[in-house]
């Protein structure tokens, strides 16, 4: 079964970059959404192996998503990667306290994202990627 990733990010440009970086890791099933509502909509219908989320999202923030996922009976064990800028240190700390698995600060190199994702998803390995 293909590894599936939920990407929650409101910037199209950032989302495009994250998705294309993920795709270079192999045949992933990626669901991308641009806000917290859509993330909540996407969750119940499927299983995810990884959730990547920004913190600064309109209305429902990344922190609220982290908390929700950690409480969720089905999704509570899914690794969560927070992507955010250094501005939001306090918020990142809260996210980690809420149970996020890793944090990546913007700007980052695509390689860093690949490495982090591979750490969170041991079944993937950067060596097997065509890159």
């Amino acid at each position: 079964m293909a590894v599936s990733v939920l990407v929650v990010e409101d910037s199209r440009a950032m989302r495009a970059l994250v998705v294309s970086t993920l795709q270079s890791l192999g045949d992933l099933r990626i669901v991308e959404v641009d806000n917290g509502f859509h993330a909540l909509k996407a969750l119940p219908g499927s299983r995810f192996d990884l959730i990547i989320t920004d913190i600064n999202l309109p209305e429902i923030t990344g922190l609220e998503i982290v908390r929700f996922v950690r409480q969720h009976p089905v999704h509570n064990r899914v690794p969560i990667l927070i992507i955010s800028t250094q501005r939001s240190e306090a918020d990142v700390r809260r996210g980690m306290q809420l149970g996020a698995s890793a944090y990546l600060g913007k700007p980052f190199e695509p390689e860093q994202l690949k490495t982090t994702v591979c750490q969170l998803l041991p079944s993937l390995s950067p060596a097997s990627s065509p890159s």
Partner: protein, 706 residues
């Protein structure tokens, strides 16, 4: 820049800048509830934040750095460490302008190093200004949220900003409520949207915290005897999702409860510290209920799916489609012609009849398609108007003139290419109105006018055109002074009497400038002639009306779209010509006796104004027509920007939609006054007149003596 980021970066950066501009405009509008201001400050922060992130990823250090500074400033504002005073607003607006320049520079990789250096220096200056502004402010922390009675299930998930808004609401003396509501996963977004709307009418929505869904309460009366059960935290309904909305409001508990609706549960989270009467909160127990099986099963999510349903298309792709469309329209006309010939020969009973019927259907569908394509290129003027408002506010600060800028009709839609093309001309007209149109503050006082000058930006559709007006309530154009300057510059004949319209025309002559001293604002080396030329390039017209002491209005009339235009077909000798209808102001029946010759050029009087004439037959050396020559002819009065010219033609053949094609380079320059060629349905090519060029030619010919 390369890769997936670069394709999205520019359009998104542009969008973010638009949002910031618009946000700043609405922020500056006075008389707003504190939560609206907070909302807008936060939105501005978010835009700067997104831009910073994107620019950083794209390796655009300068933009990233600059947006970081602005983000920092916005953060101070939204967290209440700075108050939105005018000088801070000016600082933000300058920052956005710098960002825009940075983004434009990033879009043009070939930009010179000198530009880069200049931008770099300005950015450094700007950073210093921001640092000075912010050094005065200090951070403000309060007691931990738990001590305020906010339960951990809510406080832990709040961002620092949400926490700040919560404290701020308490500080303002409001009560903070939590409204819990559970919805089915099927339609929670709609339901939540409704609830949010109701609550926002009552106060500030501080945060929306999603919670694991609880079972729906039983419908009234179905389970009347069930005793209160175990804590609701044990019951989970995977088919539902819960939300806790944190609201700050001055309204009573009852009002909030009414707004939240019967199915929601209300809790008082915190009351303002000063509040003496602390009534116990009412965390109504959830009705116990066993977890239900999930109503959803076997749902499939297709991979890499985006949930938005808009597509961005480059304008040149639409251009191409519209051109193809134009060809189709022409081919349809050819088919019609053939069908009619067939009909004449065979009558309507047979194949010819069916052919015509089928062609009717094709025609209707083609019209729909054409309208759809034209529609796809249209954008509302609101974005442009917002940008102009912003620029105007900045100008008003620079000039020290208070301005009340109003706009209407910003929902009017116009071709995207045209919206971009008129941005600078409109800005120029606004600058002009502020700089020259509006009196000085003392001048306004003397004239008994309100201190703030009024500038109105108005757009309205008019048939297949759009009219955009820039009016001011200033002193009006000083016509005698304009005439003097025109005489000084050798543009006007000192001994000649000019009508007001003729004097206004001088304003649009190259090199004309009314400002006695070139001011910082209008004096950017561009005159109204450039405005006129830009507008004329799109077959637009500029009209000016001015009343001394009352004000001036510049109206720009533009065709809604560029590619397919309506044209007036005229005959001169044996030749047919097409004149873009948007250039035609009127048509008259003329006689040779109406024409006078002034200084070797033919003119006629039209309502007290001297109208120069151009005989198309002679200009294009047309072959004589086989039709009998009569003394009567037609005069098509055409205009572009502010000039007018009468074209003498033999016959007016009617109106038709045409698709302008450019003529080959060989012919260009050989025939002056031709914009291109158009194919008529009967496979005949005709020339489309270039009205601005003909006007230029005519004005060079009729040089005022002097």
């Amino acid at each position: 820049m390369s890769g997936p980021l670069s394709e999205e970066f520019l359009p998104e950066a542009e969008e973010l800048l638009e949002q910031m501009d618009a946000g700043l405009v609405t922020l500056e509008q006075a008389g707003q509830a504190p939560e609206r201001v907070a909302d807008r400050l936060n939105a501005l922060f978010r835009s700067a934040h997104s831009l910073k992130g994107m620019a950083g990823m794209a390796g655009l250090v300068e933009i990233s750095h600059l947006s970081h500074e602005i983000e920092e400033l916005m953060d101070h504002l939204r967290m209440g460490r700075l108050s939105p005073q005018p000088h801070i607003m000016a600082l933000i607006s300058d920052g956005i302008a710098l960002l825009r320049r940075g983004v434009v520079a990033a879009a043009k990789p070939g930009a010179s190093d000198a530009d880069d250096t200049a931008l770099g220096e300005e950015t450094a200056d700007y950073s210093n200004r921001i640092k000075q502004t912010m050094s005065a402010s200090a951070g403000s922390a309060g007691p931990p949220l738990d001590s305020l009675g906010i339960p951990a299930r809510l406080s832990t998930a709040l961002t620092t900003y949400e926490e700040h808004r919560l404290r701020e609401n308490l500080r303002m003396g409001r009560t903070v409520y939590a409204v819990r509501a559970d919805f089915s996963l099927e339609d929670f977004d709609r339901q939540l949207g409704l609830l949010t709307g109701r609550l926002q009418a009552l106060g500030e929505l501080i945060a929306t915290v999603p919670q694991i869904g609880e079972p729906a309460p039983p419908a009234d009366g179905t389970q009347p005897d069930q005793p209160p059960g175990p804590s609701s935290e044990q019951s989970i309904d995977p088919g539902r999702i819960g939300f806790e909305l944190i609201i700050g409001s001055a309204r009573s508990e009852r009002e909030i409860a009414d707004g939240a609706g019967a199915t929601a549960r209300l809790t008082v989270l915190g009351r303002p510290p000063a509040s003496a009467t602390t009534t116990p909160s009412t965390p109504s127990d959830a009705t116990p209920h066993a977890a239900r099986p999930a109503p959803h099963a076997g749902e499939t999510v297709t991979s890499v799916r985006s949930l938005t349903d808009t597509v961005r298309v480059e304008i040149h792709q639409l251009d191409h489609l519209l051109n193809v469309m134009g060809e189709l329209v022409l081919q349809k006309a050819v088919l019609y012609q053939l069908a009619r010939e067939l009909l004449d020969r065979e009558g309507s009973a047979g194949l010819a009849g069916s052919l015509v019927k089928s062609l009717h259907t094709v025609e209707n569908r083609l019209t729909e398609l054409q309208e759809g394509l034209v529609e796809a290129r249209m954008v509302p003027l609101s974005q442009l108007f917002d940008r102009l408002t912003r620029a105007a506010r900045k100008l008003s600060r620079e000039l020290g003139k208070a301005v009340d800028l109003r706009m209407s009709g910003e929902e009017t839609r116009l071709d995207k290419t045209m919206v971009e093309a008129i941005a600078d001309p409109l800005l120029h007209l606004i600058r002009n109105a502020m700089d020259h149109g509006l009196e000085s503050p003392q001048g306004r006082q003397t004239a008994g006018k309100p201190e703030a000058g009024q500038i109105t930006l108005r757009a309205r559709p008019q048939g297949t055109s759009v009219v955009i007006e820039v009016s001011d309530d200033g002193q009006g154009i000083n016509l005698p002074r304009v005439r003097e300057i025109a005489v000084d510059k050798g543009l006007a004949d000192p001994n000649k009497a000019y009508t007001d319209d003729a004097i206004i025309e001088f304003l649009f002559q190259p090199g004309f400038s009314t400002s006695e001293q070139v001011s910082e604002v209008s004096g950017r080396g561009v005159g109204l002639d450039v405005v006129a030329r830009n507008i004329a390039a799109f077959n637009g017209l500029v009209d000016v009306t001015t009343t001394p002491g009352v004000g001036t209005t510049f109206s720009i009339t533009l065709p809604i779209t560029l590619v397919i235009i309506r044209a007036l077909l005229v005959r001169a000798g044996a030749e047919l010509f097409a004149i873009p209808l948007s250039n035609v102001t009127e048509t008259l029946l003329g006689r040779e006796s109406d024409i006078r010759t002034v200084e070797g050029a033919e003119v006629m009087e039209l309502r007290g104004r001297t109208l120069p004439l151009l005989r198309l037959r002679e200009h294009f050396a047309c072959a004589a027509s086989s039709q009998a020559h009569t003394d009567d002819f037609y005069i098509v009065v055409v205009g572009s920007a502010e000039s007018r010219l009468g074209l003498v033609v033999d016959e007016i053949e009617g109106q038709q939609e045409i698709v302008i094609k450019t003529i080959g380079e060989l012919l260009q320059g050989v025939i002056s006054g031709v914009a291109g060629a158009a194919e008529l349905g009967n496979r005949r090519m005709i020339l489309v007149l270039d009205i601005p060029a003909l006007l230029d030619e005519a004005s060079n010919r009729v040089v005022p003596a002097g």
